[in-house]
């Protein structure tokens, strides 16, 4: 089957390939309004161009959404099954070393923020009990200055290591359980 080429008399010196592209853009609604008006005006003036347009339009219309059968409904429980598999995986395949900079920055910021918030709340709570002369070992520990060597990055790195450790075993065990359940 050799695809027919547009008639040579479509347009004087016009590039036939360009005409086809323009007509296809017209069908796909990809032409800017002004260009569309121009092309439609040409279609009324030039019968050969109009014939070419009808030919392409017939092919385009054969694929009307109405001609395409409704795609299947979402299978019941589809999202649940996906999430069960996702949970079985435990966490995305992300390590601190391969994580994008933004993710590292966000994780570090969240951890630093969490530590700061915790320290702030802890401090407030301790201040409230400052009048109490005796102090428990735990309170003394909480009053200690945080280790200056602990940076956001190292905290975040520890976090990812911890997540990797936790995610490993429990993830695979859970996956096996769920696979059995699903099957």
């Amino acid at each position: 089957m050799t695809p027919p080429r547009p008639s040579r008399d479509i347009a004087n010196a016009a590039d036939i390939a360009d005409i086809e592209r323009e007509l296809t853009r017209l069908l796909a609604g990809e032409l800017p309004p002004e260009r569309e008006r121009e092309l439609r005006a040409r279609l009324e003036r030039e019968p050969a161009l109009a014939a070419e347009h009808r030919r392409l339009e017939r092919a385009w219309s054969a694929l009307e959404p109405g001609a395409v059968g409704p795609a299947g409904e979402i299978p019941p429980g589809f999202a649940t099954r996906v999430m069960a598999q996702v949970r079985a995986e435990g966490r995305p395949g992300l390590s601190w070393s391969t994580a994008p900079a933004w993710a590292r920055a966000a994780a570090a910021a969240a951890l630093v923020g969490g530590v700061a918030l915790g320290a702030g709340l802890g401090g407030t709570a301790l201040n409230a009990f400052a009048a109490v002369p005796s102090s428990t070992p735990a309170a003394e520990e909480a009053q200690e200055e945080p280790d200056a060597s602990v940076t956001g990055a190292s905290l975040a790195e520890s976090y990812w290591s911890l997540v990797e450790d936790v995610g490993g075993d429990s993830g695979s065990a859970l996956e096996e359980d769920l696979q059995e359940e699903v099957l």
């Binding site: 592209r21 017939r58 054969a62 001609a67 299978p75 994008p100 933004w102």
Partner: protein
């Protein structure tokens, strides 16, 4: 870079959910699944031409997306990124299994004269019957010719046709999904339409010949 996520989230909130997934919040992924399952299932069904296979594929695609959550770069709409993964996944699946059935008619037998014509399926139903018997027959012939032509289109043209015509993507979105230029999308679509048009013009005589045979 967190700003990138915020900016992109303003365009598509699903980026924010993916950012949370990337940060370890597994449950946030349910938002992505809920928001995109329908579109993804339909796309897989149109690419694979098989409802059951499409379900499996869509599930696998979501898992891939989950695994890749840490690699994404917030840009544009989430669905174009999902579509890209889905298109690659389905095409690889088709290549692996050498499946030639992208489109099919429910209840129709495969055309014995043309191995490229897929067997029964519901992914791509024929147009509504025309008002008169004669017109209905002509429409049916045109449709069969079109279907055969779609089945024999090169993979690149067929994929563009599905994305632009059936999924309603713009040239730009289709180009993003396929990782090609808009010009490439355009030329593939033009070539696909040219073939479909030729099939419609040449089809009836062939269908008549088949019916006689």
């Amino acid at each position: 870079m967190a700003t990138d996520t915020r900016t992109a989230a303003a365009v598509d909130p699903a980026w924010e959910a993916l950012a949370r997934v990337a940060a370890g919040d597994v449950e946030a992924f349910s938002q992505v699944v809920e928001a995109h399952q329908e579109r993804l299932l339909h796309l897989c069904e149109r690419l694979l031409g098989d409802r059951e296979e499409a379900r499996d594929a869509a599930q696998e695609v979501f898992l891939k997306v989950f695994r890749k959550a840490g690699e994404f770069r917030p840009h544009g709409q989430v669905f174009t990124w999902l579509y890209r993964i889905a298109v690659n996944h389905c095409l690889n699946k088709l290549r692996r299994h050498k499946i030639a059935r992208f489109f099919r008619l429910e209840g129709a037998a495969a055309d014995p004269a043309d191995p490229a014509v897929p067997a029964a399926s519901a992914a791509f139903d024929p147009p509504d019957p025309a008002p008169t018997a004669e017109a209905a027959l002509a429409a049916r012939r045109r449709w069969q010719a079109t279907r055969q032509a779609i089945a024999t289109l090169p993979e690149s043209q067929r994929t563009v046709l599905i994305l632009v015509r059936l999924e309603g993507l713009s040239y730009r979105q289709a180009a993003e999904v396929l990782g090609v230029t808009e010009g490439a999308v355009e030329s593939r679509l033009v070539r696909a339409l040219r073939r479909l048009s030729a099939a419609q013009e040449n089809g009836p005589s062939r269908v008549a010949r088949d019916e006689r045979g």
